[in-house]
């Protein structure tokens, strides 16, 4: 993929998001909410792809970073009452960035001590970290503890969700598509050789963790202001696994594939839900209700994942290695 027109892509994407958001109230609100989910999941999957895919550090703590961002942003916006349009959006972006920064600090704190670990060990430590975050929020009475925390404002809209998704894609892609950024892949491919070529692997790993966590925090803020209710259990390790699945399904280190996987995996459960509502199949005379699909929805979802992994272990959307040259 040629990334010469990186900035054009970014500005174009943001302009497009702005245009669509002008017509936001025309869109069916069910699909609008699903589109928010898609945008949030794209941010999470693409940022996790920097850590897991490009840098090769198996992290299972992404939901933890997301939680830090979600709670931080929510606490900030909850301090304000009704605001006019500009003030509201100003407060929102500040809250999102603050959430991102808080998550980035969390990423740094996890990163520095644990990045001596490799592979399975790192996965276990990040998993433990994610659980610690969840338990901390569960016991923090000021944000509702296990009862959950309600978020006053529904600031999340199409523009912020997809504009920030575009920023995430831009940041991760332009980082990796540079001489500097080849270092991430070098660390993944062979740490010892990377060191012999003057690369400091620890620095790269911490950078990947901090940037990945920052965007996970931003995604958390967006999530908080679209769902308007946060529970610590929503950021459990199953959630982290879901993001890892998106990265693996899309193809490790393949940004476009990961975006498509995030879209697909967000739509799949909804699609199955829609399928369950069908009572007649066109062309078949007698009743043929598909309501059983509703009950077996998650089983089908899991089965599909198994089949996909068996048939496309290199990732669903990896046709061939993308040629990367600036």
């Amino acid at each position: 993929m040629n990334f010469r027109h990186a900035k054009t892509f970014l500005l174009g994407a943001i302009a497009l998001c702005f245009l669509v958001s002008l017509f936001e109230n025309q869109i069916n609100s069910y699909w609008l909410f699903i589109s928010y989910d898609i945008g949030v999941n794209i941010i999470l999957a693409v940022s996790l792809n920097l850590i897991n895919g490009y840098t090769g550090q198996f992290s299972l703590g992404h939901a933890g970073f997301m939680a830090v961002g979600a709670y931080t942003a929510a606490v900030i916006t909850n301090q304000f009452g009704e605001l006019n349009f500009f003030a509201a959006n100003g407060v929102f972006i500040v809250a999102l960035v603050a959430g991102g920064l808080a998550a980035a600090i969390a990423g740094l704190l996890v990163g520095i001590p644990t990045l001596r670990l490799r592979g399975d060990y790192l996965a276990i430590v990040t998993l433990g970290f994610g659980e610690i975050i969840r338990v901390i929020f569960q016991n923090m009475q000021s944000v509702g503890g296990a009862r959950g925390y309600s978020v006053t404002h529904n600031y999340t809209n199409f523009f912020w969700t997809f504009g920030l998704a575009a920023v995430t894609v831009y940041v991760v892609t332009s980082l990796v598509h540079s001489t500097y950024g080849r270092g991430f892949i070098a660390v993944r491919d062979d740490e010892i050789a990377a060191e012999a070529t003057g690369i400091n692997p620890t620095k790269y790993k911490v950078t990947a963790f901090v940037i990945g966590a920052f965007f996970a925090g931003i995604a958390g803020g967006l999530y908080a202001h679209s769902k308007q209710f946060l529970t610590p259990d929503g950021f459990g390790f199953m959630q982290s696994i879901a993001f890892v699945v998106m990265v693996i399904l899309g193809g490790m280190g393949n940004t476009i594939g990961v975006i498509l996987a995030a879209i697909l995996l967000t739509l799949l459960p909804e699609g199955l839900r829609a399928l369950a509502d069908i009572e007649h199949i066109p062309g078949i005379a007698q009743e043929f209700p598909l309501s059983w699909v509703g009950n077996a929805r998650m089983v089908i979802y899991s089965l599909l994942l198994i089949v996909l992994m068996l048939t496309r272990p290199q990732g669903l959307f990896t046709l061939r290695k993308l040629k990367i040259k600036n």
Binding site: T179, I185, D189, A194, A196, T197, T207
Partner: protein, 259 residues
Amino acid sequence: MNPLLQLEKVSIRFGGLTAVADLDLRIGENELVGLIGPNGAGKTTAFNLITGVYQPTAGQILFADKPTSKLKPSQLTRRGIARTFQNIRLFASMTVFDNVRTATQLHCARGVRHALWRGRAFRQGEQEVESHVMELLEIFHLENFFDAEAKNLSYGDQRRLEIVRALATQPKLLLLDEPAAGMNASEKNALMQLIQFIKDKFQISVLLVEHDMKVVMGICERIAVLDYGVKIAEGKPEEIRANPKVIEAYLGEESLKNV
């Protein structure tokens, strides 16, 4: 003038085992030195001491008159020590071009900010890197493969690519760990020419760790011999060839006749 690399009474112990004992070694500017010895003699350990993988338990190593203790391998590479590996270690999923490009980054201080802003300085830097890398690839006749994944190259080409990658860090000293391993006679000849060529073209010092006597004797100006972690001889190839201690420890009468 002081030598480029200077090992002074360097020892390293792993528990009760002394892998390298009181090793003295000097490598001058633009000199080609060979380090030989039988299996388990401590050659690779000495190599790892110089490149900072291990820290010596006693003695000190000076590179360009500065001690190298406590420096990590990546920092030593920045100072000018580049290496290749006994078992080739390329960035397998990257293209040939990117393998070399990665190694140029310590000279093109373009960090996160530049990569994100993608301004004029960044593009100019990337262009310079690109032409520099292609130039290097052309010198070593790898330019036609620039787009190929490194793991798809032939064995000899992979060896060469690893050397190109090391040279892309613009070293003053190049350490080659058994570069002739697994090569046939004609490949070995080509390799000898290549090493000589690198030394002359880039005006750098080379330390060669090698099993193959023909290669070492053929190109090295000076040879040091290790046995059980102790340097038992050092001198010109002819002197080493005639040294009875070396013959006893390593070469054996048979191999002497073959050289």
